[in-house]
Amino acid sequence: MEEAKMVTKSLFMSYSRNAPPALKDVTMDIRANSVTAFIGPSGCGKSTFLRCLNRMNDFVRDARITGRVLLDGMDIYSPEVDVTNLRRRVGMVFQRPNPFPFSIRENVAYGPKLLGARDESVIDEIVENSLRSAGLWEEARDRLNDMATSLSGGQQQRLCIARAIAVEPEVLLMDEPTSALDPIATARVEELVRELKRDYTVAIVTHNMQQAARVSDTTAFFLMGELVEYGPTDVIFTTPTDQRTEDYITGRFG
């Protein structure tokens, strides 16, 4: 079994001083080169947890976070951490495909350019490799200068994945990446997720339990801000220890 890529220790998070905590005492590992799925009913804190892992919650002004989040043993909330560098190492794909209103090529090139890539041939190479990894190269190679919005929803989401991996992150966070897609596009993204774990550590939120079962190695079940149970996906889906987990996966609530 691989070592932990990211670790959270007693993570508490609340959106404001008076709000009830959105995350309560979450302690878990995310193992390197594996897919970890987060399941649980809507509003249980899955997105909140994911956004703690790349500090996207920094934009919530009154948010309070306690506990620790480690990336390769380094506390990402410690003052000397460069947040932009952290976000490059821990990439994110969002629920709705959100390509920039630029061309396909410029979307993928955005991250590398932020990092200072100037040489067009280097950028071309990054664009091709990223689109290949995201399974979009064959469809996009002849229209790299077309607007990203001319792609279908499923293609746009794969473009967003290509854009995220263009900066060579170590971890890829995906927040319900298929919830806006049709079944065929969903199947393609799921296939991609399984391939991505070869090179990346993937953490994926899904409200679809079949999806979690199909793509993940480890599954974590959240309920009302608490991590109820986590473990190997086949164990969670066949012999969960916690009654609440069993109730959820057998469809008794949520």
């Binding site: 932009t84 630029f102 955005y110 932020l114 607007m147």
Partner: protein, 285 residues
């Protein structure tokens, strides 16, 4: 059943009223344009738009005020566009709603409600006298820029607010800094909207008389302004002069309506260019 019929009647009546009002506004606009065209079209000729005024402005053309108005637009926008967009970026992207922002917003709102003649007197006192720019293209352009600022700021802010959150999230998640996100994603996405705001302002700037009559527009200039410290003729002021200062009304009245037509064409032309540019930008973005 009767309630249903009643509702349908009410629906039809309100639809008819809507169309009626629309037709009325269109008719008013059409009437104004037709009237101006009827009175002015006789004066339009190549000579009219390419010659300087002659013989105490009872003859010749209006190329001097046309050029002056274009110069005024350029100077005012060179000032107001960067200042306005920067202010909007500050309001929308940086400020956290503190005391400074509140004060600045209040200032902008007040500026929007200042009558243009008061703005003209401010321009005279501040740009012409205090900053010693004199009655010049520069002073008049800056005064017009002040006039354009509130509209430009509001339009830019709206355009910035309309940039979807998702674009910013995507940029930040790729390791973009705030400035990179604004510069590379937010501003380009907002640009078509900002351009629209700019066009509206140009229309107003081109047509205003009061802000320029004390600050740099002159009754008559022997030729084009060659430096920003020269005074200029301008179309709206020229119209005002022709309408009020002439003794040979029989000769100046056609010229006056011709000038009005040219001003209208200029403003509409700029709007067209802007609209086309915006459509292009939208398509490209």
């Amino acid at each position: 059943m009767s309630i249903y019929l009643l509702r349908r009647a009410a629906d039809r009546a309100s639809t008819a009223a809507l169309y009626g009002c629309m037709a009325l506004s269109a008719a008013v606009l059409g009437l104004i344009l037709a009237f101006l065209a009827y009175r002015g079209v006789g004066a339009i000729s190549w000579e009219f738009i390419s010659d300087h005024p002659r013989a105490g402005m009872t003859e010749g053309g209006i190329v001097t005020p046309i050029a002056g108005t274009v110069q005024l637009i350029l100077v005012s926008m060179a000032f107001a566009f960067p200042v306005g967009v920067t202010t909007a970026v500050y309001f929308n992207e940086y400020s956290r709603g503190g005391a400074l922002t509140k004060a600045l917003r209040l200032a902008v709102r007040s500026l929007a409600s200042v009558p243009s003649v008061v703005l003209g007197l401010f321009g005279l006192a501040f740009f012409c006298v205090f900053l010693r720019f004199g009655a010049s293209l520069l002073s008049a352009g800056l005064t017009l820029g002040c006039l354009a600022l509130p509209t430009l700021i509001t339009a830019s802010e709206t355009a910035l607010q309309n940039v979807p959150r998702e674009f910013r999230d995507a940029s930040y998640a790729l390791g973009g800094t705030r400035w990179q996100t604004i510069y590379k994603v937010v501003l380009p996405s907002a640009f078509p909207g900002i351009i629209t705001g700019g066009i509206l302002c140009v229309g107003r700037v081109a047509g205003e008389t009061a802000p320029i009559m004390f600050t740099g527009a002159v009754f008559f200039a022997p030729g084009f302004a060659r430096s920003i410290f020269d005074s200029v003729m301008a179309l709206p002021y020229h119209i005002y002069v022709l309408a009020t200062a002439g003794t040979r009304i029989d000769k100046t009245e056609p010229l006056q309506y011709g000038t009005i037509l040219v001003l209208l064409a200029l403003v509409l032309g700029i709007s067209m260019v802007g609209i086309v540019a915006r459509a292009r930008l939208r398509k490209r973005l």
